[in-house]
């Protein structure tokens, strides 16, 4: 099952998508075309969001970092950062080095504390897609990647929906790609994560409790492509869907 959060007739609601995803079913049975839905990020209020930097060896090499970090590079995000499927993200006029980052998102389904890797996937409710833009001009070497790069309003697209974990047989074998105006700019496979989904849950839950609704953005593969206002950016992950974002002038 796929669950989407949409704005419908004055309310934020959850809906489910069936079949090829071109229709959404609302709780009271009404069916609406997905094409006319106003998509919100599928995020629970108050959720804690953990994001991985440098979790794909090919991307690390591209940026000039060692293939494997001594300890995982994790940063966090607030609720302001997210925008839903088909939404707009602002590109500041001086952000010549703003690039999309396609990432597999893990949604936690039950409290996880000191969970071992072998049992970790039992704590996953589902998966989604993030496009976690970065603006390289704004990087500073304090708590890097700093908030001005990674916690900007609406600069992390999330969606279109959450796919049930039961529908993803192996989260470490999913093709992923980013297209900008139809051109392939980022290509990878979740098989190439340095720390797997289960490994990330073991690591994080070794010192904190992951709660239902919390998200883990698991990092991005190689392919740094600088974008322009007006670009149509689509991040797609096999078995989950395609997340559409429009980059617009700030």
């Amino acid at each position: 099952m796929r669950r989407a959060r949409i704005f419908h007739q004055g309310r934020d609601i959850w809906a489910t998508a069936a079949g090829d995803g071109s229709f959404l079913t609302l709780a009271h049975g009404e069916v609406i075309p997905a094409a006319s839905a106003q998509w919100l990020p599928p995020l629970t209020p108050g959720a804690s969001v953990y994001a991985l930097g440098l979790n794909y060896a090919d991307h690390n090499k591209e940026l000039g970092f060692s293939p494997k970090m001594q300890s995982p590079l994790i940063f966090q995000k607030g609720g302001n950062a997210f925008v839903g499927h088909n939404g707009n993200t602002l590109r500041p006029p001086d952000a010549d080095q703003m690039h999309p980052e396609c990432e597999l998102v893990v949604v936690i389904g039950k409290p996880a504390r000191k969970v071992k890797e072998a049992k970790a996937l039992d704590c996953v409710m589902g998966y989604s897609i993030a496009n976690d833009y970065a603006i390289r001009e704004y990087l500073e070497n304090y708590f890097r990647p700093n908030a001005r790069v990674k916690n900007r309003d609406g600069a992390t697209a999330l969606g279109p929906w959450i796919v049930d974990a039961a529908d993803i047989a192996n989260p470490q074998a999913l093709r992923m790609e980013t297209r900008v105006n139809g051109k392939l700019v980022q290509e990878g496979n979740t098989a190439d994560m340095i720390i797997s989904v289960a490994g990330l849950i073991e690591y994080l839950s070794s010192f904190l409790t992951l709660m239902p609704g919390d998200l883990i953005l698991t990092g991005t593969p190689q392919g740094v492509h600088f974008c322009n206002p007006g670009d149509l950016v689509i991040c797609e992950i096999e078995g989950i869907g395609a997340l559409v974002n429009n980059l617009v002038s700030a």
């Binding site: 590079l73 966090q76 908030a147 309003d153 904190l208 409790t209 709660m211």
Partner: protein, 209 residues
């Protein structure tokens, strides 16, 4: 229950900045900071009513940085400093706990983002005290004069809100003293400031909680 995001800022203490100034021009920093240095305490950090702080196995002491937590009452986006405090609904004492760390290069998530690492006092009317006193086992060990803040709370909200909306329900920790005291297992902590509800807690073993 906190429904927003809990933001803090590092290196907002003028004395700490002065002490570290020469290191800012060297690797890995290579330049002094420009934007506020933001960190997030996940929701499981926050505790109230005097709950104990869990001391992780393998650690002998924790750094205890007293500060003020401001609760945002109205979304603040691109606000000016002169009007920033209009967006704050309430204020209370907070104790930002960390496993001591030296480097500000990467977010020290495993040091700061732990369950129970942010005891909060009761919240009350908006106000910034002149100083916050931390006592360990009834002995005053630290006085945090908020005149040391590089960015005042109003300036901080204004600067953050230029790129990230502070939303109703979010908490802002206004800054940490670079010389925050440390405490060990079993010690009792009391944080007080004029006009604010006091905060008390203690350090317990992780397994005892």
């Amino acid at each position: 229950m906190i429904v927003g995001t809990i933001y803090g800022v590092a290196l907002n203490d003028a004395e700490e900045i002065e002490r570290l100034r020469t290191s800012f021009s060297a690797a890995p920093y290579n330049a002094p900071p420009l934007s506020p240095i933001v960190y997030i305490k996940p929701r499981m950090c926050a505790t109230t009513f005097g709950a104990a702080i869990p001391l992780p196995k393998d650690e002998s002491e924790l750094k205890l940085a007293a500060t003020v937590a401001l609760t945002i009452g109205r979304d603040a986006s691109r606000v000016e400093a002169g009007k920033a405090m209009h967006h704050v609904a309430s204020a209370g004492l907070a104790l930002d706990v960390a496993i001591p760390f030296e480097s500000y290069y990467r977010p020290p998530v495993a040091n700061i983002a732990r369950d129970g690492f942010l005891p909060l006092g009761a919240t009350g009317a908006v106000g910034i005290p002149d100083e916050i006193v931390t006592a360990i086992d009834d002995l005053d060990v630290h006085c945090w004069k908020l005149s040391r803040l590089v960015r005042s709370p109003a300036q901080l909200i204004a600067d953050l809100s230029q790129f990230m909306t502070l939303r109703a329900g979010d908490l802002i920790l206004v800054g940490l003293p670079g010389d925050a005291p440390r405490a060990r297992l079993g010690q009792r902590i009391r944080v007080t400031a004029h006009g604010m509800a006091q905060l008390t807690t203690l350090i317990a073993t992780e397994n005892a909680l």
